[in-house]
Amino acid sequence: MELKIVAGEKEEVTEELKKVGLEEGIAERIKEDFLPAELTVTLEDLLEVPIEGAYAEDIILMLGREEKGEVKLGDIELKVNKSELSDRIKEELKKKLKAVRTKLTREKLDDIMERVVERYEKAKVEPREAVGIVAAQSIGEPGTQMTMRTFHYAGVGAIYITLGLPRIIEIVDARKKLSTPTMKIKLLEEYVIERNKAEELAMEIEETHIRDIGKIEVSAADMSVWLSLNEKRLEERYIKREEVEEKIRGIGTDVLVEVMEDRKLRIQRKKQSYHELLRLEEKVSNTLVKGIEGIRRVLVRREPTEGYVLYTEGSELKKVLRIEGVDSTRTTTNNIAEIAEILGIEAARNAIIEEMMSTLEEQGLDVDARHITLIADAMTMDGEVKQIGRHGIAGGKASVLSRAAFEVTVDNLLEAAIYGEKDELRGVTENVIVGQPIKLGTGAVELVMGE
């Protein structure tokens, strides 16, 4: 009962604020308060799915003081293969054990094996475990530790990226328009090594409008637009004068371009009116000469391990991947909707995991990848990226009682009554409300007398 009232009150505040029309910032703040609740609503009914995972890392630590001894490679193979670990962990373990082979005795090997298996068993999730709740809380709690209520920017050079809780919300909300879309463009062979080539490619991508490369003047006296191109800018951006003229002619068939003696361009339209002239000026100024519309800036950086890499402000994955010299297999964007559209839902799922992990990591928070994987799975399992909202996954959760429990109780119940909705009592909330054991953990076990 109490829960209903609290949730209802909060919702009223949101609606109220929206009505008053307060700034987005406040809506964002309320959104932050809601994140754990939203995750919970979405994931609370998920259970079980045994997943594997173990910590092979500490075996090296466990070796402790150095001892003399040598275990045969064959022994390691045999021991590890016999154990009930997953294949991936087996491989990793073998590699690590072989590396320290000279310090191992047989007893020590047995000891290590035993402990690794033990840790592995512990890390397993048992059937009927409420993994959804655990995942929701595991993201919700770190959320309280993150830089709250502020946009936190960390620069890659001078490009700003939204980080912290606002970024997490952006991901979970499956927003199509990001506040700071950005791409990391990896390059192919020669572009990686040569700065010139990388820079030339960067200019190929960065959007350049005519207003960026010259001065535009409108002269009402002779009803024309005058453009004086900046020689230095043209050179910087590898643009030829002819290209610019070409682009201007492309505005319309009745556009006349004349090159004057002082290299100024005189642009006119056949239909001459003052209104028409102003429109022409705007069109000229916004004409794209080079690059990809939407990529406002490109930064060339030399990464110690990767060579030259381009960072962008703005994201246009589809167009960027087509450009020659771009490594289409390793280029990424932080816009998940774009990834889903161009590379498919599995790629989007991976992107969600990757983005959430790196956002949390940047804040110094360590969250088990399995929780995030679950959230990514919940968001993408229908084949499209769906947001985690106040009512769970959009269109996913239908239960009347759980909706009523979450907010505006009476409205929800009334609405449901009008439409004659039924409640199957499958989820957690519904069963708690009616006072039944929930179908999770011990509540999901069905006992039978006799063997």
Binding site: E126, P127, R128, E129, G441, T442, A444, V445, E446, L447, V448, M449, G450, E451
Partner: protein
């Protein structure tokens, strides 16, 4: 080894339910199936579970 296997047959939730149900039976006067010094029904149920003599199993549904 077989005893080990037997123990692992149930998840922790199943184990809790079986022991709980059995403890309730014992508390209400059901005959105890093993020799034990224990007096607390829950401890008796645990001892019975470890010897796997409890006549209760679990139905695992498909869903």
């Amino acid at each position: 080894m077989t005893e080990e296997k037997e123990k692992n047959k149930y998840t922790k939730y199943e184990k809790a339910r079986i022991i709980g149900a059995r403890a309730l039976q014992i508390a209400m006067g059901a005959p105890v199936l093993i020799e034990t010094e224990e007096l607390d029904p829950i401890n008796i149920a645990i001892a019975e579970f470890e010897k796997s003599v409890i006549p209760i199993t679990v139905r695992r549904s498909k869903d």
